[in-house]
């Protein structure tokens, strides 16, 4: 699925971790149910692989849909297209489709199964908050994700983890059955079943953590290539500061309009924070700024 977005909020990361974990457990439960109703192992593996593949194949549509993003023409968003055109010329790559999500949270993401099916998206909040130069830096980061084929890499990584868990579960299950299931009493069977379930969850979690580590590494790689592409790491650093942490939380929405939406804004509901949090995980702002500072010294010092 899509993986890039410019965010580094602690709360967000916690929520993403929990969401990811919940997804993993959901997968395990679905697979357990399939197995326990007697579906053959081979078919279960095919179903799991098909799920992962469709997640990859339709990554652009899934990400665009979940972010409420729409593709835009050069007439609708001339500035955004101009910047992408210029960057693609610089990077000598095919221009991806360009999209905009009408939300106030500053964010951007790149998605699509291959560079020729790629879409890069920015939210309205991102464009409102950043200068043209900073916007260019963020888009360069996203284009780097496209060039690095990060959607494919991350899908394969998470798919491999998922399949590893599944295969180990099936292996354990069949050992248990071939070990003379008939000779055991009901209580032992339940315990064995529980143990198998726990072990496969542990394998899923480990692969999930590894996938997150890989994702953080890909983010730093995209920061680096993006910054080198525009030749100004400090501009990307300044963009990151402007859209993460405290500054990213201050809205552009008008109080009077918000007032109309939530009666008397007693519990003002700008729940945007939860919308963007499903996808990947990012290194901390400090780590990213540190890398960009070093790069700035190397390039322009």
């Amino acid at each position: 699925m899509a993986k890039s977005k410019i965010e580094g909020d602690k709360g967000l990361n916690v929520r993403m971790f929990i969401t990811g974990l919940a997804l993993v457990i959901l997968y395990v439960i679905i697979i357990s149910v399939l197995i326990s109703v007697g579906v053959q192992f081979g078919i279960v593996i095919v179903i799991a692989a098909a799920l992962i593949f469709s997640q990859y194949y339709f990554s652009d549509k899934i990400a665009m849909f979940s972010m409420h993003a729409k593709e835009v023409t050069p007439q609708q968003e001339p500035k955004l297209h101009q910047i992408v055109d210029r960057l693609c010329l610089l990077a000598d790559m095919k221009k991806p489709r360009v999209g905009v999500a009408e939300m106030d949270i500053p964010n951007a993401f790149a998605t699509g199964r291959s560079p020729s099916h790629a879409v890069i998206c920015a939210t309205r909040g991102l464009m409102n908050r950043l200068s043209d130069e900073e916007l260019e830096a963020v888009l360069a980061h996203e284009l780097s994700h496209v060039a690095h084929r990060d959607v494919a890499i991350m899908t394969i990584a998470s798919g491999v983890g998922m399949l590893a868990g599944l295969v180990s579960r099936i292996a354990l299950w069949s050992t248990m059955l071939s070990g003379g299931g008939r000779g055991k009493n009901g209580q032992q069977l339940v315990l064995l079943e529980l143990a198998t379930f726990l072990i496969s969850i542990i394998i899923y979690v480990i692969s999930f953590l590894l996938t997150m580590a890989l994702s953080r590494y890909r983010e730093l790689a995209a920061d680096r290539s993006g910054a080198i592409l525009i030749g100004k790491p400090s501009v990307l650093a300044s963009a990151l500061v402007h859209i993460t942490g405290d500054m990213g939380k201050i809205p552009r929405t008008d109080l009077r309009k918000a007032e109309g939406m939530n009666a008397f804004f007693f519990a003002p509901a700008l729940s945007g924070k939860t919308a963007a949090s499903l996808f990947s995980t990012h290194p901390s702002l400090e780590v990213r700024l540190d890398q960009l500072n070093k790069l700035e010294r190397e390039l322009n010092g």
């Binding site: 405290d246 309009k257 008397f264 007693f266």
Partner: protein
């Protein structure tokens, strides 16, 4: 319980902390009162007999020896009571008085916020800042617009860091909503 919003009486006490915070603003950021303040409220919609601007003005019964008071309507259809007075204390007193009177006459639910303008004392300074007071919450936050939909977050956070102890500051940054093109300078 269902679908009915509990009416919250405006919290006005926070307003009186403003003059001392203004001293800090002047010493630390070289910002002084612009002499303008505003009270934003929704136009009448029939639930009260007081609907026209004149009726509201009559109600408020201002003594206009030291400053001026007028009512304007903004692009979004909200009403603004705009007060001009060179003294910040005078602005605070008038805004507080207007609030109290409007609440007494059942207009409390219409009130949205109060805004006080601050400008650099020695131009060209760092840009001007409005301090917005959320009447339902009883909290302040800074708003420093720099264009039709741009605001200077750095300056806003700096203002918070200096006067955060003097004023009941809004802690939830996602409530620091913009007030684009407001009639208070």
């Amino acid at each position: 319980m269902f679908g009915r919003t509990k009416q919250v009486a405006p919290k006005l006490d926070g307003l009186f902390a403003l003059p001392s915070a203004a001293l800090t603003l002047q010493t630390e950021l070289d910002l002084v009162s612009s002499g303008n303040a505003g009270l934003c409220f929704k136009a009448g919609s029939g639930e009260s007999s007081i609907t026209t601007d004149d009726e509201v003005m009559q109600l408020l019964n201002f003594d206009d020896t030291t400053g001026t008071v007028k009512i304007t309507t903004d692009d979004l259809g909200f009403k603004w009571l705009v007060v001009t007075d060179p003294e910040l204390d005078g602005l605070v007193t008038r805004i507080h008085g207007a609030n109290t009177t409007m609440v007494e006459h059942g207009l409390g639910p219409r009130l949205l916020c109060a805004v006080f303008g601050f400008v650099p004392k020695t131009p060209p300074g760092d840009g001007s800042v409005r301090l917005v007071y959320l009447l339902k919450q009883g909290t302040f936050y800074p708003f420093a617009p720099t264009g039709p939909s741009q605001r200077d977050n750095e300056l806003e956070l700096r203002v918070r860091s200096f006067i955060g102890d003097d004023l009941p500051m809004e802690k939830d940054l996602s409530r620091w909503m913009a007030l684009w093109n407001l009639p208070v300078t």
